[in-house]
Structures are given as structure tokens and as C-alpha cells.
Symmetry: C2
Subunit: 330 residues, 2 copies
């Protein structure tokens, strides 16, 4: 391994000078800089970040903790975070929590032990963030607020969008709406359910039929498929379904396909997806979550914190775009 001492010897300067050439505070005479760079080049010197970090007690790593990167929502968010991070000289450490508090805890431990510069996390109601908060690690929550702590957050207005999308189903002529949403531990699933209920009450004047509301796991589309099947096999089945995230929408669509009741026969709100939907489909109302924007915003906010910003916790709420192709089969 080539060290600054080797470079120093070759360049005829002291190790301190070599160190200063690589991002030190103190200036170095141009010709010495030249000499050092030349020597470093010849020897193939790469500064050892571990040594630097040990000394400076900081790293250029951002931990990205999401339930599951293979969910396209988080995929795009992660990609966006990585872009902003790289531009600012940070690397991204990827952590899939699978909504499992234990795994999350383990990762938080690794992250602090790693002296990461900051953490971007999509927490759930069971998240134990005390560990990181106590240690003052800069942190930004995405998609959901932090439980029990005041922490920067970038979220979307789920209630409003869920209500609006549900209204569109009613306007399209559907009358009996089912709702498949996520577990109670995930804040967005409750918000979307709430938005859906509001729209139902607005239109029917009464509370929705409880048998039309199901909760399924967010992370596996087969759960969504099962839930949709269950709804559609009711004695009095819904004629449209609100699917609370992209996975659930994918599962629901598959169930509809299997039962030969594809939209527009049965209406669908695909909240936040389905992923890579290719084109507008009659009877499918899609809301697009601003995944990349959430990522870039969160990364930018985190970097502000890393650079020492001390203000109170901030919450940024981003709007949700919507697509309604109508029910016309053309």
C-alpha cells in the first residue's frame, strides 16, 4: 500500500505537505503541489479514507434505509439520492429494512459504527430512532414522518390525493368501492385509507361498508392479489377498487385479469403506480408519486444538515400527479 510517507519521500517533502495537497486547509506552493501530484501519480497513490476518517471522525457515506429497493417507488428515490450525493462527494450505502424494526435497528447500529455522514430513512411506526437521534447523526425521513421525534421529513399529501382519485372513480360511474391498503404501522396506508373514506362519505353520505376495507402487506403483490380476490368474491362485491400502493395495484390488476374483469369492467385506483405502467388504460386511475423529487429533496436537505444547519425540523410536502384516462374503451 502506498502511503503519504512514500509519496513524501519521493517528492522530497514532508508527509504533512502531501496531506495538505489533498484537500488540506493550508496552502502549498504550486511547484510542490506539482511535485507531490507527480510522485503520487507515479506511485499510484490513493489516500486511505479509513485513516482520514479515523482522524476527522467523519465519513462521506450516506445511509439510505428503505423498506425494499426493488419496489420501484424506492428504486427511483434511491437513484435520485445517489445522483445528488455523488455530485456532493458522498457515497450511498444501501439498506433494505423490509419494514422490519429489528433489521432497521441493526442497520442503525452499523451506520453509527460506520460514522456515516447522514441517514435517509423511510421509517414506520415501530422504528426506534433514539439510537441515532441521541448521537446527533443528521437524518431525513422520506415518505413518512419519524415516530416520537422531530426530524426533517419529505412526504406527499396522501389524504388529498386519495380523496381526489376516489372522487374520479365515482365520477366515472362506479358506485361501490373497495379499498385495499397497507398495514397500520405504515403511516401512508392509513392516510390513504382516510382520504378514500372521506370521498366515500362525501358521495354516499354514510360510512363505507367495513367489509369493503382490507389491509394487506405493502411489500408483496401477492398479498394484494389475495385481498382483491377476497373483495371480488363477496356476495355484494365492489365494482371498483382503490389499491393503496403500487404493489397492491399490481396484485389487484392480476386478480382482475384472472377473473376476466379487467378495467373498465371493474374500476381501479392505482395509488403510486403500478410501476412502469406503459400507457393509459381505460378505467384505471393512476396517481404518480414524485419518487425522484422526494429523493433529490431529501438528499439536498440532508446535506444541509451535514454541513451544519441547525434549524428546527422541517417538513416538505410534495404534490401528487394524477392520470385519468376515462372509462372509454377506444
Amino acid at each position: 500500500m502506498v502511503t503519504i510517507y512514500d509519496v513524501a519521500k519521493r517528492a522530497g517533502v514532508s508527509p504533512a505537505t502531501v496531506s495538505r495537497v489533498y484537500g488540506g486547509q493550508t496552502p502549498v506552493t504550486p511547484d510542490r503541489v506539482q511535485a507531490v501530484r507527480a510522485a503520487a501519480e507515479e506511485l499510484g497513490f490513493v489516500p486511505n479514507r479509513n485513516a482520514r476518517r479515523l482522524r476527522t471522525n467523519s465519513s462521506e457515506i450516506i445511509a439510505m434505509m428503505v423498506p425494499d429497493v426493488s419496489n420501484s417507488f424506492f428504486t427511483h428515490m434511491t437513484r435520485a439520492v445517489e445522483d445528488v450525493a455523488r455530485a456532493a462527494g458522498f457515497s450511498v450505502m444501501l439498506c433494505n429494512t423490509d419494514e422490519d424494526p429489528e433489521r432497521e435497528q441493526e442497520y442503525l447500529r452499523v451506520a453509527t459504527s460506520e460514522q456515516v455522514a447522514g441517514i435517509i430513512i423511510a421509517p414506520n411506526a415501530n422504528s426506534e430512532l433514539d439510537w441515532a437521534v441521541e448521537r446527533g447523526v443528521p437524518m431525513v425521513c422520506v415518505d413518512r414522518h419519524a415516530p416520537h421525534h422531530e426530524i426533517d421529513a419529505v412526504v406527499v399529501d396522501n389524504i388529498t390525493a386519495a380523496t381526489a382519485a376516489t372522487h374520479l372513480l365515482f365520477e366515472a360511474g362506479y358506485t361501490r368501492l373497495g379499498c385495499i391498503t397497507g398495514p397500520e404501522t405504515v403511516e401512508t396506508s392509513t392516510a390513504r385509507l382516510e382520504g378514500w373514506m372521506k370521498a366515500v362519505r362525501d358521495h354516499t353520505g354514510t360510512d363505507p361498508d367495513p367489509e369493503l376495507v382490507l389491509r394487506a402487506r405493502y411489500v408483496d403483490d401477492r398479498d394484494g392479489e389475495r385481498a382483491a380476490q377476497q373483495l371480488l368474491s363477496l356476495d355484494n362485491p365492489p365494482d371498483a377498487i382503490f389499491a393503496g400502493n403500487n404493489r397492491l395495484a399490481t396484485g389487484t390488476l392480476r386478480a382482475l385479469y384472472r377473473l376476466d374483469t379487467m378495467p373498465p369492467k371493474v374500476g381501479l385506483v392505482a395509488f403510486g403506480g403500478p410501476p412502469n405502467s406503459l400507457f393509459a388504460w381505460p378505467g384505471v386511475i393512476v396517481t404518480y408519486l414524485p419518487d425522484s423529487l422526494i429523493g433529490t429533496t431529501a438528499a439536498a436537505m440532508l446535506i444541509e444538515r451535514i454541513n451544519g444547519l441547525e434549524s428546527d425540523a422541517r417538513t416538505v410536502t410534495l404534490p401528487i400527479a394524477m392520470e385519468d384516462p376515462g372509462t372509454d374503451v377506444s
Copy 2:
């Protein structure tokens, strides 16, 4: 920051003993282990990995260098790598190269400077891997072979699968096939083109019409869309299209939709996608790349290397699954 010295003082032992409790080679008396653990717990001690790494000259980080995590193929691969890595005590650093050799180079520099334990990379023809190879960083290539070096690789049999899928188009009754594949710098795109050509020759007895072959970027589905439009606006347009990856397939499908020539009117091979295809579609032949399996295999191979395996470079070729729903519109 709590260090082993603090813990040592509190537990009434030496720092060396504390270190040994955390994964040291030498055994420690049980009651001292107890005392150390208790003290560590009370003080909230977390070992500083940077110090450890500086000393041991190794890290528990695997760099995952892919063109673009937001491509579902790499997404699933990355997810699989992360699972295997975590189980073995490694973290994953995410690097999007966008097929850009410069960015790749930058990341290789960061990775060596970071003393990463190993690298998993999807290289292209312009990749400069010398840097890492010289330094002996354990490395495994995925999806593509390393240019100019003998390195472990996990790939799929693109030629065979492309030929087989193309055959299915002919069998379905399509006669004039177009092909949209990726840039020449990406090995898989050439292999798939080759497989396609073989099938065309088998069936027609002649070389394919050159105007039916287009190359587009792999990374943006709009390029695929444009290429498909171009093919379909020929005087003598193809009646089926072979799309060389998931992005191209997505773009092609969108073009077909816009031109109101959705399959089965125009046949389609969607090689390696399209992502999250919801269900079988008449006239669309889909090949499924074993994305997760590539990831787990590569991660396992890399970990073997990290643990000191010295054998010659190995290449694992995985099979490709295929789905042909026929052309029947039922």
C-alpha cells in the same frame, strides 16, 4: 464518543481485553466478557469501524457498480446482492455508472480508497478495470464479461435465448422481423443481435435486411420508442419486433400502442422484460432474465474470493426462462 478505553476503565480491564471481546482471536475469561459487555451497554459503546479498518486494512463493504439501479433488472440484482451481503456481515455501497467509463473510473477510485472488501460490477467494453485488478481487489462481473481481464463472471446465455425467442415469433406466423438492440459497447446487445440473426437466417435462408436492425441506448426507453417508430414507418415495415432489453421493450410497446398496432397485430419479443409485466399478453414473447439469481450467485462468489479463494477466474452461465402466450386473443 465512547471508546474501548472508556469501556476498559469502567469494566476494570485493559483496552486490549475490550477489543478481544469484540471478535478478537484470543479467548477472554467469561466473567470479564460479562463485565465488558455490561460496561459497553451502559456507556452505549459502538466500535469505531474506521479505526478497526485502518488497523486491519479491510472493510466490510461491497461496492455494487451497475449502469442504473432504476432499471428493474439491476434493481432486483442489487436487492439480491444486498441480502446475501448482509447475511455475511457486509454492507453494500451503491454506484450508478450510467455506462459512463469516466464515472465508473471515479467509482473504482473511491472504492479502492475506501478499501472495499470487493466489487460487483456490470462492465462495458470501455471499462478500465486495471486499476482495481492491479490492486487485487476481489471482483465479480455480472451480466457481462470483463474486457481485457480474467475475472469471475455471472452471465446468461443470451445467444441461445435470443435465437429461441425469435424462433417463437416465426412459429407464431410473423415473417418480417425487426430488431432493436443496444450499443456496441455492451456485450449483451451484440449477443442478442447475433442470436436474432441466427434465427432469421435459419428461417429465411438469407441475411436479414439491414434496415431492419437498429441500435439504441439501453438506458432510456424513449430511445426504444423512437427506434420502433422508425422501424414501423419503413416502406416495408416489420410485422414483429425483437426488443433487446426491458427498456427497449417498454419503449417499443409504447410505440405500438400509439400507432394502434399493439400485439398481436405486431409481434414482440421483450427480452428481459418488460419490467413488472403483469400478465401474459397475446403476441408478446417475454424472456425473463434471472436477475435475483445473478445477484445471489455473484455475491456468493465474491465472498468466496474475499475469504481468500485463489482459483482461476470462473464463469457461471445461467439459463433464461421464456413465456410465450401464443397469439390468440382470448
